[in-house]
């Protein structure tokens, strides 16, 4: 795989360019804040602007701000949404008649800019060592250029900003929930929550039976992942606390047991609102009525995959 990557850039350059991506994303959200501050139709101009601008500042300049300052800004950013002061202002969603007319003009070639992000992601991952964040950004830029070329009169630069503001406002403060949950995971780890939980589980596992050990390890991964919102946070703690002493020490195959434990944890990711980027943000983007609609549709598959993997782990015992 590595041999294919004939385009190699300096890792430092990768980091600097990714910082530009964060600045661009920050500017998009700051734009959303300023637009709403000046928008007389927004019932809560200050709160809305405070939220989006703070989010933008943290995204854009987080690399250089002292961590304590960023942390304080993040807590400040939480206040407007908690007080329900982040609102939607004036927005002009295109009418069905308008988009139907555009479709007649542009036709099926609208699919080309729709696929540039995916194509760029794949090409960059296969042939270069360039960060996926840059691949996505590159794909977006090319899509913007193609869209401008299709309809230079209507697809002007400010239209792209306005449309992204419309979507950000539609999604609201949920946009930053994934990152906030990342913070909670980090604070849980720093406070040693994982070790306490693993200690409790460790006390109730009967020693000496590898099959019970596997089952407890697997259930532990699911429950732990659901609490932390992230299987990565769970795998280290659970493997050191449970998987090692109760399964691997009894002769379990480290490759199958260790690796499948991670994807067993993913079954937990499918079941928890704490994994907001996978389970809650789509609710906002797709405008669903129930915030558990994604999770509801994942329960059956998660349970089946859990069972299959536990059986595979047990079969790997020699």
């Amino acid at each position: 795989m590595e041999a294919l990557k004939f385009i190699q850039i300096n890792p430092d350059l990768n980091t600097s360019l990714v910082n530009i991506v964060w600045i661009l994303i920050g500017l998009i959200t700051i734009y959303a804040g300023i637009k709403n501050l000046r928008d007389e139709e927004n019932p809560s101009r200050v709160g809305t602007a405070m939220f989006w601008c703070t989010f933008g500042v943290v995204c854009a300049f987080g690399t250089w701000l002292p961590a304590k300052v960023t942390g304080a800004l993040v807590l400040l950013m939480c206040l407007p949404p908690i007080m329900k002061k982040v609102k939607v202002g004036k927005s002009e969603a295109p009418t069905k008649e308008y988009t139907a007319k555009q479709y007649e003009k542009v036709g099926m070639k609208i699919f080309i800019p729709a696929f540039t992000v995916a194509v760029f992601s794949l090409a960059f991952a296969l042939f270069t060592n360039i960060s996926s964040m840059l691949a996505i950004t590159g794909g977006v830029f090319v899509a913007v250029i193609i869209l401008m070329a299709y309809n230079p009169k209507e697809n002007k630069a400010p239209v792209f900003l306005k449309e992204s503001e419309r979507f950000l406002s539609l999604m609201g403060p949920l946009c930053m929930l994934p990152q906030l949950l990342g913070c909670l995971g980090g604070v849980f780890t720093a406070a040693g929550v994982g070790d306490v939980l693993a200690g409790i589980v460790g006390k109730i596992v009967p020693e000496g039976n590898i099959y019970i050990g596997i089952l407890v390890y697997a259930i532990g991964m699911v429950v732990f992942t659901m609490i932390m919102g992230n299987a990565f946070a769970a795998i280290t703690v659970m493997t050191v606390g449970i998987g090692g002493p109760f399964v691997l020490a009894l002769g379990g195959d480290p490759v199958t047991i260790g690796m499948l434990a991670l994807t067993v944890g993913y079954c937990g990711t499918l079941l928890t609102p704490m994994a907001a980027n996978f389970n809650i943000v789509p609710v906002a983007i797709l405008d669903m009525k129930n915030r558990f609609s994604v999770i509801k549709n994942q329960v059956v598959v998660a349970l089946i995959m859990f069972t299959i993997q536990v059986i595979m782990m047990m079969l790997s015992v020699r």
């Binding site: 002292p66 609208i110 239209v159 950000l168 991670l262 549709n297």
Partner: protein
């Protein structure tokens, strides 16, 4: 009293059970855990700042939003719908399952497919909706809600279970270093190989469950109206 450190976990569970605002729950859990865990105010702020910045890659969808709206404005939804009308026998479930196969192929290379903002909303949903209306039904609101849920779910299933096939992906590396800390040396290639049967099972299970569920929903919502 080690158990006091779990106060944040308790807040999260109770908070979601009481259907409180998500941000409020996390906010309270953050502060409670920071104080109970002995981080102090400075330590807490530092942990929040560091982790928020470290997780910025989750905000990359904002970059994609730059084009999502303009794509829709220029008729992408109409184009997607018209394309699927040419496919005979298409149902919402089958469309989502077909997406799953493609999504899986991309995930095995550790890349996304535009995600919910870039693909599911502007392309997949209009296709699934067109597949329903094309059969002569008027889209039922509750069916649409489940179609949205199933589409996002398919995106997640394939991403989770196929991304681990990518040798050198972050999941495999984390398992490798964790096992190494316990004294077990494993290589990344065999870790990825161990996931092959899991990924295939995930693809089959996800597609079958989705197609069957959609079939059941179609019967429920449209049969009596025929």
């Amino acid at each position: 009293m080690e158990l006091i450190k779990l106060v944040g976990v308790l807040i999260v569970i109770v908070g979601f059970a009481l259907k409180l605002d998500s941000i409020l729950i996390i906010f309270l859990a953050l502060i409670a855990t920071g104080l109970a865990g002995g981080l102090g105010i400075e330590g807490l702020l530092e942990a929040i700042g560091t982790n928020f910045v470290a997780n910025r890659s989750m905000a990359i969808f904002i970059m994609i939003l730059l084009v999502t709206g303009v794509l829709e404005k220029n008729g992408l939804r109409e184009a997607a719908a018209n394309l699927i009308r040419k496919v005979k026998g298409a149902t919402a479930g089958k469309v989502i399952a077909a997406f799953g196969v493609m999504r899986a192929a991309f995930a095995a290379f550790n890349v996304g497919f535009g995600g919910v903002a870039g693909f599911v909303r502007p392309v997949l949903l209009p296709m699934a909706e067109a597949a329903v209306t094309n059969q002569g039904y008027e889209m039922d609101e509750n069916h649409l809600e489940d179609i949205k849920g199933m589409s996002s779910a398919m995106e997640n299933f394939m991403w989770f279970f196929f991304q681990v096939l990518f040798v050198g992906g972050s999941g495999g590396i984390l398992v490798q270093t964790t096992l190494a800390s316990l004294g077990y040396e494993v290589d990344l290639l065999s870790l990825a190989a161990a996931e092959i049967p899991v990924a295939i099972a995930a693809l089959v299970v996800s597609c079958v469950v989705t197609v069957m569920k959609d079939k059941k929903l179609s019967k429920k919502y449209y049969d009596k109206k025929k």
